[in-house]
């Protein structure tokens, strides 16, 4: 019997009262059927490719001839030849530079975004003339495609006519020097995503009960105390989930570095840039996959740390 054509004997009670185990089971079957397209699509575009990546991470393989791969175990990660040459990607200093830069990028951009986002959200949450204008303005950096904002900032950083590169810094090539480039990247990312953070914090702020603040005002608590003792603790759950997602986005950053710095510098500025260079530019399917697996493990480890340390709930 399916739910589509319930055989109703005459005088049977309405369907709602008849939630028998049979109906439950058939509803469960319907649910699975409804989920099938999604599950198949996810298996096809995420599951199977991920399996392939893990498989190739233990193979020596070329991108153009993936079928002629040879099992090499963990040699893509770590392998020293008889002459003492380290061939595993973990022996490549460029990889570790990329890891360090990605971590710097993540920590600073997410921190600055949270602070700025909090300030903007608090300002927009208070009543003043021009509030709705600022609320609208907030959406603009977020709506601009990443590649476009990368180009806009690359133009401003330009050392011969950029407003920042030429105007503020008098012709310093910010992007050419890797020690300054990482901070230039952080500035772009903070500009682009602060408004996203601010929107999420604003949504959290607006769900806080107003009478609580009235009571606090009555008791003579200063705005400062109210912020630290009430607003921040109550915002914690929303803030943490936003932090997790922003951190994960920052860890897999690719676009702005690749567009603004070019493939080679991007490879030592972001883990993803390094992986793509190995995989696509160098055609090293095995090494590139091994790097991808490493990034996957790093990101999943950070998720687990976040979720267990802060008891983030997603439901």
């Amino acid at each position: 019997m399916t739910i589509n054509a319930p055989a109703k004997p005459p005088g049977a009670p309405p369907a709602r009262a008849r939630r028998t185990p049979g109906i439950e089971a058939s509803r469960a079957r319907t649910a699975i059927i409804l989920l099938l397209p999604t599950l198949i699509a996810i298996a096809l575009v995420a599951g199977f490719p991920l399996y392939r990546t893990i498989f190739f991470s233990a193979q020596e393989a070329n991108l153009t001839t993936p079928d002629q791969s040879v099992f090499v175990g963990l040699q893509n990660f770590w392998f020293t030849t008889a002459e003492g040459i380290g061939l595993g990607f973990m022996q490549d200093p460029q990889w570790w530079t990329a890891v360090r830069n990605t971590l710097i990028f993540t920590v600073f951009s997410v921190f600055l975004e949270t602070v700025f986002g909090m300030i903007i959200a608090l300002v927009v949450n208070s009543a003043f003339a021009g509030r709705s204008f600022l609320r609208t303005a907030m959406l603009i950096p977020w709506a601009i495609p990443t590649v476009v904002s990368a180009q806009m900032w690359a133009y401003m950083y330009n050392d011969s006519f950029g407003l920042i590169g030429q105007g503020l810094l008098g012709g310093q090539a910010l992007l050419a020097d890797s020690s300054t480039a990482i901070w230039a990247m952080i500035a772009v990312d903070v500009w682009k995503t602060t408004s996203f953070m601010a929107l999420l914090i604003l949504a959290g702020l607006q769900s806080l009960p107003g009478d609580m603040y009235e009571a606090a005002d009555m008791d003579g608590a200063s705005k400062w105390t109210q912020f630290w003792r009430m607003t921040l603790p109550l915002l914690r759950p929303a803030l943490l989930v936003a932090l997790v997602f922003r951190s994960l986005d920052a860890l897999r950053v690719f676009d702005i570095m690749y567009v603004m710095l070019g493939a080679n510098v991007a490879a030592s500025t972001s883990m993803t840039g390094y992986a793509r260079q190995q995989l696509i530019d160098n055609q090293l399917l095995g090494t590139g996959s091994a790097v991808s697996v490493a990034i996957f493990i790093i990101i999943m480890a950070i998720v687990v740390i976040y979720v267990t340390a802060f008891r983030v709930k997603f439901d």
Binding site: L34, T38, R52, F55, L134, N158, A242, Y258, T272, A275
Partner: protein
């Protein structure tokens, strides 16, 4: 208000500082884009002028005519549209089935499936890049918009499923039960009863997924060689010589691509915020 009477000096100082902060925030958020718009209306020779003279320099729409006549940019717009619309259409269809099942049905393994979908939405795209590349080339889909479209499902499907599920949960159950009593099949219930109610949610989710797909860069760069999408075209926009960056046309192209998105976002402002919070905070 009290402060205004007891200490007007401090009150007006606070007001002034607050509005100063508002102005700083507004300039910070809007200036880079405004500067790009201005640049898109300036001639190449005027780019070297100091800022004040640059602002006063004559306005031209040459950059825009050049960009719109550029065949690779026009092809980019076409391919971006095909790929993004396709990915969003498939995701909304599959996603609403899944959201209906996850939001309305009780069954074993539901929690597990929800965690799988959440895990995919935080997936680093790079983790599947190599695997997808070999699959796409094997099926002869390299440089084919269909291959790119299918690969975009990796982020559009989890996103639509999560956001739509939270919307489906908020729909009162009586609607669906009434349909059930009338003997409607689950698909009929979904299409006839829930879809009309879910319309605003579908529009919002579709729009957000569309923006994500429209902006995607890593897959577009890797899986297409001649049929480039707009972000890749803009990133690679080059002038007559390799060392000459044509900033005017690049900015014009950027504005052409951005204005529709900004317009959509401003029109659907309220929905966007609710969709974003549903999508980001809940997954």
């Amino acid at each position: 208000m009290n402060l205004k009477r007891t200490n007007p000096g401090l009150f007006y100082l606070q007001r002034t500082l607050f509005y100063l902060l508002v102005i700083v925030i507004a300039v910070y958020l809007l200036f880079p884009f405004a500067w790009a718009v201005l640049t898109s209306f300036r001639r190449a020779a005027d780019l070297f002028l100091p800022p004040l003279q640059f602002i006063a320099a004559p306005t031209t729409i040459d950059n825009y005519t050049q960009v719109l006549n550029n065949p690779s940019f026009r092809r980019g717009l076409l391919f971006s549209t095909i790929v993004a619309v396709g990915a969003v259409a498939v995701s909304l269809l599959f996603g609403s089935f899944a959201a209906y099942a996850l939001g309305r049905f009780r069954f074993r393994g539901k929690q597990f499936i929800m965690y799988i979908i959440l895990a995919v939405s935080v997936f680093p795209q790079i983790a599947v890049l190599g695997g997808l590349f070999t699959l796409i080339t094997r099926f002869g889909l390299f440089d084919n918009p269909i291959g790119l479209m299918v690969s975009y499902l990796i982020f559009t499907i989890p996103f639509t499923v999560w956001v739509l599920t939270s919307f489906v949960r908020d729909i009162p159950g009586e609607l669906e039960e009434a349909a059930l009593v009338d003997g409607a099949s689950p698909l009929q219930t979904l299409f006839r009863v829930l879809f009309p109610v879910m319309m605003p949610a579908l529009v919002t989710t579709g729009l957000l997924a569309f923006i994500n797909a429209w902006n995607e860069y890593l897959f577009a760069l890797t899986f297409m060689s001649t049929n480039r999408t707009v972000p890749v075209v803009i990133a690679n926009y080059s002038g007559a010589s390799q060392f000459d960056q044509p900033w005017g046309p690049i900015m014009a192209a950027s504005i052409v691509v951005t204005i529709p998105l900004i317009a959509l976002v401003l029109i659907f402002q309220r929905n966007i915020v609710s969709g974003l919070t549903a999508g980001a905070v809940k997954g």
